[in-house]
Symmetry: C2
Subunit: 308 residues, 2 copies
């Protein structure tokens, strides 16, 4: 078995996870992002972890890429009537999970234990691992002040220009033993085509994680989330430009330079290969747009097949 450890955010990360999850001979561990977590209506919501879980459990709403299939919004409509802010769309099945998680947390279970239990019950065979059991929350500075990540991402629809990012609580966060073990024991570490600044950095910057990846014996490959300078979904390109990074595969290469040895880029970006090589990184050109299940598996297979 090839042990693959994937660092992943939400929608794009989940697609990459499904690709590896669908391969024979691969034992997949996914270290997800918990810095988008937030409390809504007194319940703890973990959007990226849930997107991973719902995707690997084949419960995801395929049309929108997040949330649960066959969903309704009765609870949210009542909360809206009663005056709660309801810009965060939470469905009824989804609420069942958030209610369970919040109650289990209150009873003293760790976020990791809860995530592992949910994944197991939902039939996920790959491991979903939290990078930390502590609370780390991304804050986004825009012209009007600091926003929580979901305020920026969902409520403001990523429209305000991002002036700064911080990961509240990250300095004191401890990595989970499972995350360190998945990194240490991996044959291949893959950084999914997720937003490097708000999905991957909050994993990498948890004290101990980056160093563990540095020390790991595995091959280390990232997949560029940018194709021809554009993101498939989400604000990565604009956010990178605002924060002074080049918003293309070369910018991704620069961001991960020193951590990875290979960057997978789209065929559309093949002209950037030489520049990326100049950063002492190998560049592999593949079809990186994952629309179908076959696309996901093909990309995962190509990444593995491209290993020397």
């Amino acid at each position: 078995m090839l042990k693959v450890t994937l660092l992943a955010g939400g929608v794009g990360g989940a697609k990459m996870a499904e690709g590896f999850d669908g391969l024979e001979g691969v034992e997949l561990s996914v270290i997800g992002n918990i810095a988008d977590d937030a409390e809504f209506h007194g319940l703890w919501v973990s959007p990226d972890i849930d997107t991973l879980t719902y995707s690997l459990a084949n419960r995801i709403d395929r049309a929108q890429g997040w949330g649960v299939a066959d969903e309704s919004h009765r609870a949210l409509s009542v909360l809206n009537e009663l005056g709660d802010d309801t810009w965060m769309t939470l469905g009824d099945r989804d609420f069942g999970l958030h209610i369970y998680r919040t109650n289990a947390l209150r009873q003293g279970q760790s976020r990791s234990e809860i995530a592992a239990h949910v994944a197991r019950v939902f039939g996920v065979t790959s491991q979903i691992i939290l990078p930390t059991d502590d609370v780390v929350q991304t804050r986004v500075r825009v012209s009007s002040g600091w926003l929580t990540f979901q305020e920026y991402f969902v409520r403001e629809q990523c429209k305000p220009e991002v002036m700064a990012l911080e990961f509240e609580g990250i300095g004191a966060a401890r990595p989970t033993p499972a995350a360190l073990e998945a990194i240490n024991s991996a044959d291949l570490i893959v950084i999914a085509p997720s937003n490097p600044l708000v999905s991957i950095d909050p994993i990498l910057n948890i004290p101990g994680i980056r160093a563990a990846i540095g020390a790991a014996k595995a091959r280390k490959i990232a997949v560029s989330p940018l194709i021809d300078g554009k993101t498939i979904k989400g604000p990565a390109a604009g956010m990178m430009a605002s924060l002074g990074l080049r918003a293309d595969a070369y910018g991704i290469a620069g961001h991960y330079q020193g951590l990875i040895d290979t960057l997978v880029i789209d065929h559309a970006d093949s002209a950037l290969s030489n520049q990326i090589n100049a950063l002492n990184l190998a560049a592999i050109c593949e079809h990186t747009l994952m629309q179908t299940r076959a696309d996901k598996i093909a990309l995962a297979q190509a990444i593995i097949g491209g290993l020397p």
Copy 2:
């Protein structure tokens, strides 16, 4: 305006409340029972208050007499999958309310404030008043030990014989100012045809409530929940018999003797009038079975019309 203050439990109490709520010239305050309240999945559930609210808001599931119309159970199905006990049927709209209540409680609002807000938002014009903002919880002793009320009522379907009842926390509970004011200012105090032992007693036994009713200038009338020695719904008859009370309208009269001046009984029980009169209580015979909206209004009208 005739000020009517109704003491009410769940389903039967809500029907009586709808009767008075439907009358012109009546200003209705309902003091509900909070001793059936319990936490489920970490959320605070208040079944009798919610049944009152849903009934007066015309959102009640009319077929079952409790819960919300147009309901689904997606959240509960997920909680069930994840291993929570789900014998307490909670629908998705209903969960919206429980999530709201629990969050508002955590933010420091009182149960009374929350109940009043919910009733107002849902369009209830009568006042729904809690007898106390403290936690009082009915415990039921059966042969296997003590059960919470919902364990006895829902999980065990009222099957075990009731050997004792207690209202945990009632000694230290303080009556709400609104409950005392509704009692003091009433022209008519009505005890709904609810279970006297587990719906009405936990209201009456809150320190200060019974004395306030005693001191009130209002006429005081109870409606027997038993017709021909049987309950319409719920365990009142068997529970009364188990606890040594006569399980008929006469037993109801004896239970409320000294507190009320008039008992409304069903025509089927007219033969008990003399025995009830011997307890120094007037007996009024009416059609007390409330199946339709017209039945509820007719009974409320008859109670008011029967006043001297």
